[in-house]
Subunit: 185 residues, 2 copies
DNA sequence: AATTATATACCGAACGTTCGTTATAGATGT
DNA sequence: ACATCTATAACGAACGTTCGGTATATAATT
């Protein structure tokens, strides 16, 4: 075995911070190097295809994280209204009151769009479906539930954008807390 | 007089297209040159401070355009419900069914955030206020109307993000058409 | 148990390219 | 003549990337 590794997840977390604030094109190797404490050459040891690999790793990592921290915690057998509230509360925590951006949004600009658009569209569908499934369990018709699922996603993404623009984390909290009642009726 | 100017608004429109698709950091002088048909030296004739000036011009231009095409067309003396519908229809047209991004969103990432955040926050407030004013005229209490104004903005920005990610322009249309009834009750 | 080989972790220095920017000279129209 | 605009070419800096190398720790061989 080699010298103890720095922990790839640690590295990826720091990469994620840079990509989320600056986007794909705006994130430079120098920033990524500074954020991780690894010189550029070392980054290429972890990510042989460079910046593209790092972005992919961040996308996958945050996909897994949001899955385990948010989506997979949904109990579809439980009370739908309670689950919906819990889901939104977890989102507030996951997005740190709206202080961090959604990588799916950020990676739909510039070069990243061409690289990741399939992954991003698929992940968004999955989120909308999770909400829709919960709404159906609450007695809402399938077609309506599906539309409301997308509405929920729209609200999340929009709240993140507006919060990033204004710095008002209370807005994000309020918007997330109000989301369940809004899409339920 | 010199060779007839290309029409600065024409130039700015093409610049806007690049910035909206690639963001500030992702937009390169080469792209901006190709899009406008002006060589770099000519761009620096129109915009002495370079990229930053171009972005500022785009921000101002789209600010004026959205004002004249959307916000200033609101008739606060007319029927609030009708005005709300008309407002949302104009948004669908202004954003070309969601096929173009909101510059306010795009310029909150990377270098642009530091450059334009005050302008952006102020403009977002103005949009939220326009909705709030209309809702008050429809008989909704001020504090509720203000919150719903922000909710409208959140929906617009979110719908633009999700549409950009999925390519589904129908989603943007539907979301905008449903917006008035949603914030009215 | 000591030696050799191998694989991983990491880095310094440089690569060629493109970035945003600028200087200079030449068109072009009044 | 003059102001306006464009063409060419180059600038230093920063870009993403690559190469050659060291250090360390296990695995294999003796």
């Amino acid at each position: 075995m080699p010298a103890a590794q720095k922990g790839k997840d640690d590295v990826i977390q720091h990469l994620a911070g840079v990509f989320r604030r600056h986007g794909y094109d705006g994130a430079t190797l120098t920033m990524l190097s500074d954020a991780t404490g690894l010189v550029k050459a070392s980054l290429y040891h972890y990510f042989p295809n460079g910046k593209q690999d790092m972005a992919r790793a961040v996308l996958d990592y945050l996909g897994e994280l949001s899955k385990s921290e948010v989506l997979d915690k949904i109990d579809y057998a439980g009370d739908p209204r309670r689950e919906l509230n819990a889901l939104c509360e977890r989102l507030v925590h996951y997005f740190q009151q709206g202080q961090v951006s959604c990588i799916l949004e950020v990676f739909t600009l510039g070069q990243a769009k061409g690289l990741f658009q399939d992954t991003i569209a698929a992940r968004m569908s999955r989120i909308a479906e999770a909400y829709a499934r919960l709404l159906q369990r609450a007695g809402i018709a399938e077609s309506v539930a599906q539309q409301r699922g997308w509405e929920a996603l729209v609200t999340i993404e929009g709240a993140l954008v507006v919060t990033r623009a204004t710095g008002d984390t209370k807005l994000f909290r309020n918007m997330m807390m109000a989301l369940p009642t809004r899409i339920l009726k």
